[in-house]
C-alpha cells in the first residue's frame, strides 16, 4: 500500500517561493488502481517524484506498507512518460537493467528478462536496439523493465500520452491486466479523463496550484468492463466523465465567446 500523508511541496523559483502541493493525502491499497488527474501544471507528476525520492516533500510523508520512504525503494517501479530505454543497449539489456543495478548475476537476470519479454509479446526482439521497435513495443519493453524488479507498487506518469489512440488502448488494457494479476498497487498520473475512468478503481481530482485534493471518485468501470476498450460504453461512464470535467474547472469558452 502506498500512502501520501499531508504532502506539501514548494520550491524557490525565480519569482520567489512556488507552492506546488498543499496537504495532499490519499492512499493506494493493495490490488487497487488509483488515477490522479488535475489541470495542466498542477503538480500531479511531482507527487510521483516525491514517492520515488527524486524530490523531498516540504512537509508530510510518503509511506509504503506503513514505512516512511527515505530513498529509492525496491518495492516501487516507475514508468515514465518519455522513453527511458537506453538507446545504446539492446532491448534485453534494457529489460534487465534494474536487475543489473541490484547486482543480480548475469545468467539469472538474462533468463528473467527473456521470459518477461516473451510474456509481453517481445520475443525475438531481444537483440534489437530500442529504435527498431514501434512506440507500442517500446512501451511494453519499458514496462517489462519496470516489472523485472517485481515492484509491489507501480507508478505511471502519463505513460501513454505519446502513443497513437489504438495502441494506447491495447497497452492500457495490458497494464491493467498485469497489475491485477500481480495484485499490485498502481498510481497513474494522467490528464485524460477517459483513461482515468477506464483504468482506475478510484480517481483523485486535484485542484489548480497549489494543488489540493478536490474530490475522490470510486468508479466501477475498470473492474466491471471486459476490457479498457469496453469501458466507455458502460452505463454511467459519460456521467462520471461530466462530473470530473466539471470538478477540473477548466473553462471552455471557445474563440467565439472571447470575441
Amino acid at each position: 500500500m502506498l500512502e501520501f500523508r499531508d504532502i506539501s511541496f514548494s520550491f524557490s523559483g525565480r519569482r520567489g517561493n512556488v507552492e506546488v502541493l498543499r496537504n495532499v493525502s490519499f492512499a493506494c491499497r493493495e490490488d487497487e488502481i488509483v488515477a490522479v488527474i488535475g489541470p495542466s501544471g498542477c503538480g500531479k507528476s511531482t507527487l510521483l517524484s516525491l514517492a520515488t525520492s527524486l524530490r523531498k516533500p516540504s512537509a508530510g510523508e510518503v509511506r509504503i506498507d506503513g514505512k516512511v520512504v527515505k530513498g529509492p525503494d525496491p518495492r516501487l517501479g516507475m514508468l515514465f512518460q518519455q522513453t527511458t530505454l537506453l538507446p545504446w543497449r539492446s532491448v534485453v539489456e534494457n529489460v534487465e537493467l534494474g536487475l543489473e543495478i541490484r547486482g543480480e548475476p548475469k545468467a539469472a537476470r538474462r533468463q528473467k528478462a527473456v521470459s518477461l519479454m516473451a510474456q509481453y509479446g517481445l520475443g525475438g526482439f531481444e537483440r534489437k536496439y530500442p529504435h527498431a521497435l514501434s512506440g507500442g513495443m517500446q512501451k511494453r519493453a519499458a514496462l517489462a523493465q519496470t516489472l523485472a524488479i517485481e515492484p509491489t507498487v507501480l507508478l505511471l506518469d502519463e505513460p501513454f500520452a505519446a502513443l497513437d489512440a489504438q495502441t494506447r488502448v491495447v497497452i492500457q488494457n495490458d497494464v491493467v491486466k498485469i497489475c491485477r494479476a500481480g495484485r499490485r498497487s498502481m498510481v497513474i498520473v494522467t490528464h485524460d479523463i477517459a483513461e482515468a475512468l477506464a483504468m482506475a478503481d478510484r480517481v483523485v481530482v486535484l485542484t489548480r496550484r497549489p494543488a489540493t485534493v478536490k474530490e475522490i471518485y470510486e468508479v466501477p468501470f475498470s473492474r466491471e468492463a471486459a476490457s479498457v476498450a469496453d469501458a466507455p460504453a458502460m452505463p454511467g461512464f459519460a456521467d462520471y466523465y461530466k462530473r470530473i470535467w466539471n470538478a477540473l474547472d477548466i473553462s471552455v469558452t471557445g474563440m467565439g465567446a472571447a470575441a
Partner: protein, 259 residues
Amino acid sequence: MSPTTLHHVLVNSGRLLVLAVILIGTELGVRYGVMSQLFFSSPSEIFGALQMQWAKGSFLPDLGITVFETMLGLVAGSLAGMAVGLILPQLRVVSNIIEPFLMVLNGIPVIVIAPLFILWLGLGLASKIGISIYIVFFAMFIPVYTASLRLDSTFVNALKVMGASRHQIFWKVVVPSSLPSVYTGLKIGSGLALIGAVIGEFVASRAGLGHMILYASGTLDTPSLYLGIITIAIFAAALSFAIDALGPVLVPYKFSDEK
C-alpha cells in the same frame, strides 16, 4: 545491370578517369615544358624523389616519425580529453571555476603556441607529440564535455528510481551516452593530430615529413616537396578511413539502420 550497379560502375570509372587525367596531364605537361619544373613535378619525377629519399635512408624514418607523433598525440590527447570531459561535469564547482580558462586556452591558435612547446620539450619528438596532444585534447574535450553537461535527465532519473548509485549512473549512462561525441572528437582529432605533428616539425625539427617538406622547399627540390605532400595526404586519408571504421564499434546502435 540494375540501376544501382550501373551507378557504381559509372562513379568508379569516373574517379579512375579523373586520376588518370591528373597523372597523365602533369606527366606530359611537365615533360614538354607546358608546366614549369620549378612549380610542378611529374609523377615520374616524384617517384624519382621517392627513390632518392629511400636510398638516402630518410624516407621511412621521416614517415615513421610523423606517423608515431600523430598516433601518440591522437591516442593520448583523446584519452585526456575524454577523461576531463566526462569527469568535469560531475564536479560542478570545479567545472565552473576552470571552464573559462579552458575556453581561452582552446582559443589560442596552435601555430602560436607551438614555439612554446619547442622551448619546453626540445627539438625532438616530445615537442611534436605535446603540440599534437594539446590540440587533440580540445577536439575531444569540447564535444564530450558539452554532451555530458546536456545529459538526458530522464535516463538519470530512471536509474535513480531503480536504486542506482552515482557510480552506476556514471558508468551506465554518462559514459555510454558520451560515445557519439567521442566518435565526433576522434574524427576531428585525427586530422588535428597530424596538423599538430607537422606544425611542430615546421617550427623546429631534425626529422619527420614536415621537416622533409620544409627542407625540400628551402632547397627548391620540388619533387621531394610533392612527395611529402602526397605521403601526408595518403596517411591522412588512411587515418580518416580507420576512424570511420571505428564508428560501428563505438556506437553500434547508430549504425544499425533497421527500423
